[in-house]
Symmetry: C2
Subunit: 321 residues, 2 copies
Amino acid sequence: MEIREIKLEELDTKSFVEEKVSEISATVGDGSAINALSGGVDSSAVTMLAHKALGNRLKTFFVENGLMREGEPQRIVSLFRELGVSVEIIDAKKLFFDALKGVTEPEEKREAITRVFYKEVFGQLVKKSNARYLLQGTNYTDIEETVAGIKRQHNILEQLGIDTQEQYGYKVIEPLIQLRKSAVRRVAKALGLPEEIYNRPPFPGPALAARVIGEVTPERVEIVRRATKIVEEELSKTGAFQYLAILHNDKVTGIREGKRDYGLQIEVRCWESKDAKVGSPTRLPHDVLEKLAEKITKEVEGVVSVTYNITKKPPSTIEAI
Amino acid sequence: MEIREIKLEELDTKSFVEEKVSEISATVGDGSAINALSGGVDSSAVTMLAHKALGNRLKTFFVENGLMREGEPQRIVSLFRELGVSVEIIDAKKLFFDALKGVTEPEEKREAITRVFYKEVFGQLVKKSNARYLLQGTNYTDIEETVAGIKRQHNILEQLGIDTQEQYGYKVIEPLIQLRKSAVRRVAKALGLPEEIYNRPPFPGPALAARVIGEVTPERVEIVRRATKIVEEELSKTGAFQYLAILHNDKVTGIREGKRDYGLQIEVRCWESKDAKVGSPTRLPHDVLEKLAEKITKEVEGVVSVTYNITKKPPSTIEAI
């Protein structure tokens, strides 16, 4: 099926919302649906659309995969509670870390996360809830990149020939599939979501697993989680498109209290971009860069070196994995 | 033996040179000595001191270990020929690469290089030449760092309890051992060496092997050699203390002609420092950084990502290995 993009300039948010709400109502009928909320702009917009369409017949879950940022599950759940949407947290940390054990190749990591998410976690939830539909926030860029073979986005299924009905026992509904990120943001704003959500920098599905080069263990995720917190605190005011910390697998020589310390390296990336198709490193002042390095090497145990990405996309990608 | 530093402000280059020349003459007597010239300021100054002291009884070798920068052996040899010092190139590439096969731990790499250099290469040369002395440019910082346990400098032997007489068949003379880098530069200038040498940024002994994280193979050295050439061309005019390119072992996702390209990453470091004891990343303009990334990703095959070090020493070290 060919998917037609709705460009930002032709988007009428009010009629888009009305149209999608009635499409969801019509598809789900008097059945029920579930969806996963990550707190990103895509899944947040989908949650609001489906909530408008289905009310209590929508069950929204926050999957705690152990790969989220500090305090994220609680923050997102309470934010949606204020909007009248109740969200249930599913603790699936063990399932994800078990699946990631010993996996170092990026595409295999993505595959493991996709499998656990759709099959183990959502397969079970669907069975328990009797829902026949899963709503998710796949957008136009996800499809383009996956089809082009750049990287397998975690939420792409049908376009890769995965029959969710047969394999997982439910059908997938993707109301945002014709929109790029900037259009999704506008829809999210129209849906009454707060700026914290509609302007939120992208944080892709595999979450901190995409920020760990090499094996993803709870300990290594905790290291990149701490670095991520510092990077987000220091760079949120820049207005950059996306900013991230990456834990490398390579170790480098450092020095602590006059002694050799063979330690870890964190790479910081901060991007100027409209839609993630192309991007340039933000020209951060050197004061900001040095402060970042100082805080990370001081506050994140084991880190002796911090670098800053200076390569554009292409030939880089936004994330390292 | 306690070594006393001669500080820059108390250094009288003329009397230092005279003193060292007569010390070398007295020690070697009517015997002969050999030395290895790498083209760095330390070994260049030693070559000139020993040449003044011993004339033709000094045999100077340039050890081609396969880890040197592009065109380096030829350039250094012809430069010293103009100064009246003849230098013989020893092709030891195979010995070094054989010793480095499968070695990934930094200290083991250094140890392998040290062993090949002093035992296999110089042990043989000493036997053939009947020389009983090896002159080398160990300086005060090398000793300090090795004794402090920060990193094993390739040229530190006696201080680590290595008896060269017993193990390799020769004694080591180290005329620069009381000087830090800036003092060595002043002595090198006083010895009539050209600015290209006396102001040359440091390029430590393990050479490009210290710029390759993971296994050091001829192919991987060639990649970092090309990146090093670009970094040196672009940054030589900055007047920075030292600048380098490091090939990482980690691979990162990139994109080429719309397709996923899982490729290599180069880290660039550029340092402001007086004596390598402490240092700060040079605050290079972002234009310069982006140009570096563009040239490296365009001209060095397989590289999709370039980063810039933003961490001070400490807790970083100048080199990564």
